[in-house]
Symmetry: C2
Subunit: 537 residues, 2 copies
Amino acid sequence: MGTHPENERINMRWDGWGDPDRAHGLPGGVKLLLAGVLGRVPKASAAPSLAGVVLTTPPLDDADLAALADAVGAAHVETGHDVRLLHAGGKSTPDLLRRRQSEQVAPGAVVLPGSEDEVAAVLAVAGERGLAVVPFGGGTAVTGGLEPDAGTHRGVLSLDLRRLTGLVALDDTDQEATLWAGTTGPAAEAALGEQGFELGHFPQSFEFATLGGFAAMRSSGQNSAGNGRFDTMVTGLRVVTPTGILDLGRAPGSAAGPDLVRWFLGSEGAFGVITQVRLRVHPVPEVRLFDAWSFADFASGADALRRVAQLGTGPTVIRLSDEAETGISLAQVGNIGQALARGCSAVVVHEGTDSLTQARREATTGVLRAAGGKPAAEKLAASWDHGRFKAPYLRDALLANGVFCETLETATTWSNLHVLKAAVTEALTGGLTQEGARSRVLCHISHVYPTGASLYFTVIAGLGPEPLEPWGRVKARVNDAIMAAGGTISHHHGVGTDHAPWLEQEIGAVGIRMLRAVKAELDPAGIMNPGALLGGS
Amino acid sequence: MGTHPENERINMRWDGWGDPDRAHGLPGGVKLLLAGVLGRVPKASAAPSLAGVVLTTPPLDDADLAALADAVGAAHVETGHDVRLLHAGGKSTPDLLRRRQSEQVAPGAVVLPGSEDEVAAVLAVAGERGLAVVPFGGGTAVTGGLEPDAGTHRGVLSLDLRRLTGLVALDDTDQEATLWAGTTGPAAEAALGEQGFELGHFPQSFEFATLGGFAAMRSSGQNSAGNGRFDTMVTGLRVVTPTGILDLGRAPGSAAGPDLVRWFLGSEGAFGVITQVRLRVHPVPEVRLFDAWSFADFASGADALRRVAQLGTGPTVIRLSDEAETGISLAQVGNIGQALARGCSAVVVHEGTDSLTQARREATTGVLRAAGGKPAAEKLAASWDHGRFKAPYLRDALLANGVFCETLETATTWSNLHVLKAAVTEALTGGLTQEGARSRVLCHISHVYPTGASLYFTVIAGLGPEPLEPWGRVKARVNDAIMAAGGTISHHHGVGTDHAPWLEQEIGAVGIRMLRAVKAELDPAGIMNPGALLGGS
């Protein structure tokens, strides 16, 4: 059973990242590198075909489907095998590994409302009929937040807002735009670009994720120091909950009690469905200036980034790879010679109007130079920019070749950064060694703040043909280490189901009670994304 | 009965603003101006003496006092007439007018805990014995949030954190400081200044208000574009609720669910007591550059400020007075000739390191000039800076002379700014005319954002010897007009009891249910600041 034409969107690969046409094999250079680092790794076993997977979640019954058809129209209730499987999870490495199993859990139906009223109608049907609802966004979640978990309910729906897309309003005086939550990153930029504006929010998931997903996950873009954090761009939200609709964000800078917009940034679909996002937009920059820098070591590079963040010279992007990541990256872009050199590379981008941007770049340059930075080939920065959305495709190639590859991330204050980095690295390598796997851990700073920074880790390991369970043990050890070392359980991947067991350590028992109290008030039947954020009951 | 020495702090005037030694009469120029604007205004009737006021709230019983003494020590439970009266309300004009009545409501006792454990112990006693608790902060609230309202309880305590002051920790690498919530603005700056840092948060209440109060009220400083908003400076909070303690703000940029710090910014003491505030601090600026500008009218000036905010050239202060306020201000500083000229004056301040600050100032200057601004005498900016904390003293002199004077404020998008300004002005002048009073309304933009700005109104009126009730009617009309015109009920004074009836229009019925759900969870007995934020039950 195919997809109804009106529900079409270029789907990501069902068992990998992104556009199937852009999948590729392992570059020769990487193969060589891997052999040196991990030794001989057996190829992964062949995955089942899409059609060959058996879906274990029972489909919904006829009365369910009739009620849903009443809510959104029969054409927008998809129950085909392929569509359900495409909505069976997110894109973490464990998600992709689960896609190789012969039996898989999938939502009973994928429901595609065409208006806010229809979203409310779907939640009403779900509440009446005892069905859980998982808001799908763009399907790029990496912390288990899209698990088709029925919780205590009879069945589970995937709610896909791909019909709620595009610009609702743009005020060019206020430089503020309202967009439907189902709009993807590229669609938003295209709609705004026609009128000379841009969002400039570029997380790794940019090409597929939706604005509603960015908001619900407190997304952090790669424009780390500029428009990096989605939560600083959002000025208003509309949210449909099972018990009513919220229209939040009445005025900039209001002091009318707690800012409830902020409650739904990071809400992960646990309280309701974000249907519209109002955002600050800005004119398309006149110039973008790329610089690459080299530092003697990670500590001196981190110190330089700190000085830039605290002085506030305003780069749009500023990131620093550690020694291990610098070596691998240089190898990837073919600079094997440089890869053998020591040090850490940084990428800096400034953008905006011509005159201000030049001045800011000069100020940043002054700080980095004074902190021991040496200018490096500019093409390294351009190469980062060119390749910024390609990493997940490389992961697919690695997994296909039997190499386990995953990313995880955290953040802390500057003064605690190296303690946290060492603790996570030790938990990864120690944990993987205990599982009998050789590994390599790479790390970079992707986001800087005046008081601290994020740490983004990539790990590759020879975990063997059944990596799910051993990786689960290693990941738990890493999360424990993050909490013990004072880090946050997530700087930008979110909580989902994977991190939910650690949330109480993050916000305390009283914080958990606050979340549960609002959940009970807005979603008394507990139908919204059971298991995500607050974990199973 | 005097105050125990350990509980001493320079108190504000019991029946006016600030330091009694800085009170003054009406300057001759202002008297002249008033006669022209308002006509003949009868002098206010004499207020009772401090000792002559009868307190109508029954004092607590012996068992209450014994339990409180157990919690904080007998020396820190103040029940003297004067101390109670000094904690009987905030500093809005209605508050000050109520201080002239012969019978007044006051808290049964003022309790001064000396540790976080003692705060928790006071809340426990209050819960057990059916007493409401009003966190006092620095006592500068202007929206009724300090009303000694027992709600459904038997009595009411004022909780004063003046013993919980000073620096807990300062990390100069992270540029982050933790301070006790009872620390006043000047005390915080003194403690940080010793180590080369500053907060740079200067609301009108700076000299008396506390950091806990700044946080609880989502305070906005006069450094509007720099460190104006307290909520952007706060990185962590400790909060004692009746049912447990929260320690929030684990890492910069966390995406671990909703940011609960933001729930308590604007919480107004309705959920618990903020005991510690963690903040981003910054080095004391090398330079501060003051500029004054003149615009042909408010519309062109506002448009110029918008361009600066959207380009992000980074002034610390940027504010614009409308024609009426410009005239009065110039008259006050003795420039009567200029006061007769048309136009609107703006004040701009840049600060930071020498080189960056000069560059930013040049960029701002370029924008303002291109938008039609003309440089004005720099001394006007210096004069604003010099007089920035004096306005409330002038209000005391006006009230003593029978002239009603009050301020109120709101915010909206740039495109709605003039509609909102006209609506508020009409509600004020129309309402006051209906009450038989001549009036003058002044307005300025104090805070700018990329998407909008705040509007701050000052009104003077000849409302007669009993202005409380007629002003109540006018203020209600203004609040209705703000909501009808799309403004927020408060940009920085907060909700308190005065604005509580309008909060549902601001955040919707579902938003109110969220606040009530968290209130019921954290404060099931409803002892925390009844009436504030959520209004009476």
